[in-house]
Symmetry: C2
Subunit: 195 residues, 2 copies
């Protein structure tokens, strides 16, 4: 229909970052090149080099965006379900959402995590990501009557990370909820108890 008035200015920057996340999630951070990102965004090569002075800056900005999105998602989710009694079920839904709509940001976040191993500049992003997750989960735990929400949140987030990574790696083979629910149920039972 519309001959599509081309996106200009700062909006382009956002477009490029989105395309970068797609590339990272779809082909891995190693495949992130100016040309590929530009192509994914439907823009000429010079667009990426104009808005990001180096490939590294582009990659870092993309990681930051992925982390922020994921933090926002989990925070909103936790707020919406604060004070729940069926914590395991709520967490199952959270993980399903992360692996569903949140998949792109999630993969990028894990890639960033791994790269932070050798690139200290990424540590601050990693720190915010961890902290965001931790406080969101701690909030849920408080509502569910955990005796030590902060410690329990550390346990829970570690397990969540492991579960997410595992199910990403295994692909969409088995139904997420069916596979994850019993594990989370067992964990929550252990932490919150049934008292």
């Amino acid at each position: 229909m519309s001959p599509e008035r081309p996106v200009r200015g700062e909006a382009r920057r956002a477009l490029i970052l989105d395309a970068a996340l797609e590339v990272i999630a779809g082909e891995g951070p190693g495949a992130l090149t100016h040309r590929r990102v530009a192509a994914a965004a439907g823009l000429p090569l010079a667009a990426t080099t104009y808005w990001f002075s180096s490939k590294d800056e582009l990659l870092t900005a993309a990681y930051r965006l992925a982390a922020d999105r994921d933090i926002r998602r989990v925070t909103e989710f936790a707020d919406r379900h604060a004070g729940t009694s069926d914590l395991a079920e709520v967490l199952t839904e959270l993980l399903a959402a992360e692996l569903g709509e949140g998949r792109t940001a999630l993969i990028a976040s894990f890639a960033m995590w791994l790269e932070a191993t050798r690139r200290p500049e990424l540590r601050s992003i990693e720190h915010d990501w961890t902290e965001g997750y931790l406080s969101a989960v701690a909030g849920l735990l408080e509502g569910a009557g955990s005796p030590s929400p902060r410690l329990d949140a550390q346990v829970l987030t570690a397990a969540i990370d492991g579960l997410l990574l595992g199910h990403l790696a295994r692909g969409a083979q088995d139904d997420v909820r069916t596979a994850i629910r019993p594990v989370l149920a067992r964990l929550v039972e252990g932490l919150v108890g049934d008292a």
Copy 2:
């Protein structure tokens, strides 16, 4: 001293794979190139292309090696500590070992994990890795008197993965044992109980 008789034959293949793991752990899978690996192994470029018909084959073989090493490490560790009563302490030592001597194989394993997201050929390696970890941990849990070792092992390995990844990302900043022990203690307490 010795002019070092050059390594020849199959031994070279092993040398190259070790060098490849070093590169993956040190500079990331994206930095794995024939030239870099050859340089790290102290061999000419043609050595890597002779023993591995493509870069992909080299990368996959390196991942396989990393997984096998890690599986062996965790299995031996579990065997050595079977029937322990202080499960949390034993697990803390396991994780410290993974992050210490096992660091290279561990990083490579996680990188493989993430890449399995988009490369189904890696799934079988991922499967063996998961299975090896799961049965090793289940063995420990049985000894510690868990009511449902298999399910609890799923919980535990997920948490272990998350903890390992987190501490890799944060670098060697804080003492591993100090940071990890309370989390594992809380988790084990929840699973095995004190009954």
